[in-house]
């Protein structure tokens, strides 16, 4: 993550989040998909929050991608995303459906099969 060093570091992350480091909700993952609610007004949002909404209006993005576009650390991005979910500007959904627990019967059969082979 080399990035352009001249771009980084002008506005520091604590100013972006106003000193907060904990997201208001702990539901974000690197691959959580974020999409914007198109009918919400953007007035009063800080530049970063506004930009997140604008980016996500074009199509859902993962948290990692949002952070990449904003050139902000992922953990800082999560704080901003938490605020936006709270204010109703964006909604999130898990990207990948949870993998079902493997069937213990199946595992047992695999084990038997392996033993039979060896």
């Amino acid at each position: 993550m080399s990035g352009d060093r001249r771009l980084k570091g002008l506005v520091r992350p604590y100013v972006v989040t106003d000193g907060r480091s904990h997201p208001s909700r702990n539901t974000f993952d690197l691959v959580t998909l974020v999409s914007a609610m198109p009918d919400r007004p953007l007035a009063g949002l800080s530049p970063e929050r506004r930009r997140i909404v604008e980016l996500c209006l074009l199509g859902a993005l993962s948290v990692a991608e949002v952070a990449g576009h904003l050139r902000l650390p992922v953990s800082v991005t999560k704080v901003l995303l938490g605020d936006l979910v709270d204010s109703g500007h964006i909604m999130t959904r898990a990207a990948v459906p949870r993998t079902p627990q493997p069937d213990s019967q199946l595992l047992r059969e695999v084990l038997h099969g392996l033993r039979a082979r060896l």
């Binding site: 002008l10 506005v11 520091r12 530049p47 930009r51 993962s62 990692a64 952070a67 953990s75 800082v76």
Partner: protein, 445 residues
């Protein structure tokens, strides 16, 4: 013969007495005039003594103490009795030489203090910058909110430290030290906000589509940071410092209002002198503790061509500071997509997550058309050309380019191409697994 003697005596007396009287009178006149001359000379010597004494005990110390006084600023060396005499001239030349020597000594002291400070501060500045980069890297690497909280605190302290070092360096004649890209004026103000202790109290009210040219970004950030720091330090901790950005006829203004104690006439006059940047700053005269703020702003304003004024007309009772940026230092903001072509060339998924596999967005969600801001500027570019675009270009581009490598080189990789390769890979591994029968996994078919 004897009767003639008295006659002779009386004759002598008759002749001698008037002569003696004349001589006596003359002598008395001479004595009188000599007495007067002696009196005048004594007065003159006393005046010279007094003048010499004043030179030694009043004027020379005054010249030595006042930083920028010249001999003609002082009251005249001799009183009226010595006016126009050679002695007065000599005294004056002594005074001038002394003033010259004092100024020279002061300059030398100032120069050597500046050189020593510059050297020391430059290494501190380098360390602060290095530390900021490693803090940024750590912020990227760690995902834990508790770690982030600590990192933000360290980052905040380091930014303030860096600003102090930078201010001293500027005062000693160095450059502000970092090159930045064209930045939005609101980001410049927030950058300044990043560098002061009470940043939470600063409210940036208005936002405009104005940007500051690359070479002026860091100086303006530094000047605004000093103004914000002053405003925050001289007002109650529960008040806010308000920043408004106003476009003006031939430039733009950053207006900073605080609700603090304000400044009196003398302070405002002194601030005005320092902010004008006309007078060279003497680092040995900054007081204890040294007050850099206005002096640094003055140096930067004179060097980069913006201007700063302070007065007591804040609507909240405190000080209003106005930083005026002429049009020469302003420009149009660069579109946000500036850095996207670099990302577009990368085959890697998201730049923010190098070690974690984020799903390729183009697969899950078909590429959206290019967005536009309200002002008509392109908003952002997807990493792949949309299928329609690719389909439209491909037949025409195929013929001249020929090989797939050329195609890849010219276009990155199209979505179809990627899909085809992935498909081939999947089919290949499936076929390989189906054909494998031995435990080593060597294909037998």
């Amino acid at each position: 013969m004897t009767p003639h003697i008295p006659d002779a005596v009386s004759w002598c007396l008759a002749v001698g007495a008037p002569a003696a009287a004349v001589l006596l009178l003359r002598q008395r006149r001479i004595t009188g005039s000599l007495g007067e001359r002696i009196g005048a000379l004594e007065a003159s010597v006393a005046a010279r003594d007094e003048a010499a004494h004043r030179l030694a005990s009043v004027q020379a110390p005054a010249l030595a103490a006042a930083p920028h006084a010249a001999p003609h600023d002082l009251p005249p060396a001799a009183d009226a009795r010595l006016a126009g005499t050679a002695f007065a001239g000599h005294l004056h030349s002594v005074l001038e030489q002394f003033a010259g020597a004092a100024a020279l000594a002061r300059d030398r002291a100032d120069q050597s203090a500046k050189t020593a400070l510059k050297g020391a501060v430059r290494s501190l500045q380098g360390l602060a910058n290095e530390q900021q980069l490693s803090i940024s890297d750590m912020q990227d690497r760690h995902d834990d909110p508790d770690v982030l909280r600590d990192l933000l605190e360290i980052d905040h302290a380091n930014s303030q430290f860096g600003r102090r070092a930078q201010a001293i360096a500027v005062l000693c004649g160095s450059w502000p030290g970092r090159q930045r890209r064209v930045s939005a004026l609101s980001d410049v103000v927030r950058g300044a906000k990043s560098r002061i202790r009470d940043y939470r109290r600063v409210e940036v009210r208005t936002q405009h589509e104005l940007a500051v040219v690359s070479r002026a970004v860091e100086p303006v950030v530094l000047a605004v940071a000093e103004l914000l720091d002053n405003a925050a330090r001289h007002s109650q901790p529960n008040t806010t410092v308000e920043v408004n950005l106003q476009p003006a006829h031939n430039g733009a203004c950053v207006v900073i209002d605080d609700a603090g104690v304000g400044m009196d006439e003398r302070e405002i006059r002194r601030a005005g002198q320092l902010l004008s940047g006309q007078r060279a700053v003497d680092v040995t005269q900054l007081g204890d503790p040294p007050q850099f703020g206005f002096a640094v702003i003055g140096v930067l304003a004179a060097r980069y061509g913006f201007s700063v004024s302070v007065d007591t007309r804040s609507p909240y009772g405190g000080v209003r500071a106005v930083l005026f940026l002429p049009s020469a230092l302003l420009t149009q903001p660069e579109p946000e997509t500036e850095s996207q072509p670099a990302a577009a060339a990368l085959p890697a998924p998201a730049p923010a997550a190098p070690r974690t596999a984020a799903p390729a967005p183009a697969e899950a969600f078909p590429a959206a058309p290019l967005g536009q801001t309200v002002g008509g500027l392109p908003k952002r570019r997807r990493r792949h050309a949309s299928p329609e675009q690719a389909a439209a270009v491909r037949p025409a581009a195929d013929a001249p380019l020929g090989s797939e490598a050329d195609w890849d080189a010219a276009w990155g990789r199209s979505a179809e191409d990627t899909a085809r390769r992935m498909g081939a890979f999947a089919r290949g591994t499936r076929a390989g697994r189906a054909a494998t029968t031995d435990p080593e996994g060597t294909p037998q078919a």
